[in-house]
Amino acid sequence: MDQSILYIDLGVGGMTCDDCVVHVTEALEAVPGVEGATVDLASRSAVVTAHPDVATESLAAAVHATGQYNVFERRRRPASDV
């Protein structure tokens, strides 16, 4: 894996069902520089695998554009950090 890849931990608001998980995942994965996103309904959180130049604002804007969800960044960590 590219050494510069990061995990970005996000809090996710507004999800009520598995469809919501799909919508948030799609929104996050459409952001340029995002390699993948794992969204969890129960813990209301997401882990995004992304290049370091992906700004939190871009992730938030993509999710806000869905009209009903919110994300905010908790922290960034190296992808090697499990």
Binding site: G13, R44, N70
Partner: protein
């Protein structure tokens, strides 16, 4: 150690709950820390219990003082402990419904009891336990000021905490006599409450009643109080306090003479101060002003970027007011700024406010003095409520409405009312001012006849003509 909370809120009042609900909706894991009773001042020892009791005292008073010929006075028996008991139940029920149940219904909200103080920029100590969070909201509210009066520390005294349902400071016996120190909104509300239940009440105020409000409001209230047998000592300094048998003696200096006042109980209601003195803010560099209020920017951020403050702890900065609904609005703004990057700024241009005396007082916007200080060219019109048909119809002619309008564009800048239903009527003025209404907007709106809200239509007409000559429905 477990994951840090996304937001840790110090306090659990209306500000804290609005922030917690807002942050929760945005996905945050929230902790709320409370050292007293969940719900804060308003529900436990402020707005809610005082309004419950004031209404009851009004029923007793109205029965004994019917306004209509043909109705004979009736003396209601008052069981004070039972009256306070029903108030306690109202408080507990409301707290359970609006606070505990709301908290229980939220995912990812932890409510932690105990004494909290910052020990580092991202952690607090809660009774010795360390709790970490990424962001904080200081919403610890305010408490009564204890003024530095010689001897005050040697006698028992009441504060507005007497309203509490569950704490030690609560009151269960009606005092035979009471000295109230202070002339602000809490002092006048509680003074009239006790007086109407039969307590002999003396108010000792440093200046006039309701300093900071339109002066005619306090003057009118003073006349009402005098007529109800409440003694008001204005412009009076309290020199010292001492015990006097089972009661208290208070040495005062009125404008004309020194006097010793004696009463069974003493109520200290000389203002409120922010709860910011023992929560470790000095350790983490959160700036306070000279009076201890947390300094915030227009987005409610403190001098630390990850710490916000809202509610009573910010005092009157940026046009804010120490009032429950103002704090709640600010709590919601903090949630959106902290977790949505919303960068919302507070808007305090229109904050209606009421004082629940009888007659009630309600205000919104600028006073005449404030308009002058801002060099805003303005005119005023004061209309006695006896010209409002409903006031005459139900024998409640006392009071007035004073409106302040800009001479540039005729926008209404302020409305100040004392009289029947003022606390309800003020919302029409507030909504109108929110939409930047002019004198003619108030005049042109058809009002229900006969209501006290017509006071605003007639009050606006007073800018144009002699309102003593209006026909029916103020046309």
């Amino acid at each position: 150690m477990s994951d840090p909370f996304d937001l840790l809120i110090l306090g659990s009042g209306s500000t804290a709950f609005a922030a917690a609900i807002g942050a929760g909706e945005l996905g945050a894991r929230v902790a709320m820390v409370e050292r007293r009773t969940l719900g804060g001042t308003c529900v436990n020892r402020g707005c809610l219990p005082s309004k419950n009791l004031i209404e009851a005292a009004g029923l007793v008073w109205d029965a004994a003082h019917p306004r209509y010929d043909g109705l004979a006075p009736a003396q209601m028996a008052v069981d004070f402990p039972a009256l306070m008991g029903q108030k306690d139940q109202v408080v507990r029920d409301y707290r359970a419904k609006k606070y505990n149940a709301v908290a229980d219904g939220m995912t990812d909200l932890a409510i932690l009891d105990g004494d909290a103080a910052f020990t580092g920029p991202t952690e607090i100590s809660l009774d010795g336990r360390t709790i970490a969070a990424d962001r904080f909201l200081i919403a610890t509210g305010s408490r009564p000021i204890v003024p530095p009066i010689p001897g005050l520390d040697t006698v028992p005294y009441l504060t507005s905490d007497l309203l509490d349902a569950d704490e030690a400071g609560r009151l269960t016996e009606l005092p035979e006599s009471l000295i109230v120190l202070g002339g602000g909104y809490i002092a006048v509300e509680l003074a009239q409450f006790f007086a109407r239940l039969g307590t002999r009440v003396t108010i000792v105020a440093r200046s006039a009643l309701l300093r900071g409000y339109e002066p005619e409001l306090g003057a009118t209230l003073s006349e009402v109080f005098a007529a109800e047998g409440i003694e008001v000592l204005a412009d009076t300094r309290t020199e010292r306090v001492s015990g006097d048998g089972d009661g208290v003696a208070v040495a005062v200096e009125t404008p004309t003479a020194g006097r010793i006042l004696r009463a069974q109980r003493l109520l200290v209601a000389t203002g409120r101060r922010p709860n910011t003195d023992d929560i470790g803010l000095d350790r983490i560099g959160v700036g306070l002003d000279a009076d201890g209020y947390v300094v915030v920017d227009a987005e409610l951020r403190t001098s630390q970027a990850h710490i916000w403050a809202a509610g009573d702890v910010i005092g009157t900065q940026r046009g804010s007011q120490m009032a429950t609904p103002v704090g709640a609005r600010q709590g919601r703004i903090v949630a959106e700024n902290a977790f949505k990057g919303a960068r919302r700024r507070v808007d305090h241009d229109v904050i209606p406010r009421a004082i629940f005396t009888d007659p009630p007082i309600a205000v919104v916007g600028l006073t005449e003095a404030e308009a002058k200080a801002k060099r805003h060219p303005a005119v005023t019109a004061t209309t006695p409520l006896k010209y409002v048909p409903r006031a005459g119809a139900i024998h409640r002619p006392e009071g007035f409405v004073k409106m302040i309008a800009s001479t540039i564009d005729e926008r209404i800048l302020g409305v100040h009312m004392i009289g029947e239903s003022a606390a309800e009527v003020i919302h029409e003025a507030a909504m109108a001012m929110h939409f930047k209404a002019t004198i003619d907007d108030f005049i042109d709106l058809i009002h229900v006849y006969p209501t006290m809200s017509e006071a605003l239509k007639i009050g606006a007409q007073a800018f144009r003509k002699d309102v003593t000559k209006l026909s029916c429905c103020a046309e």
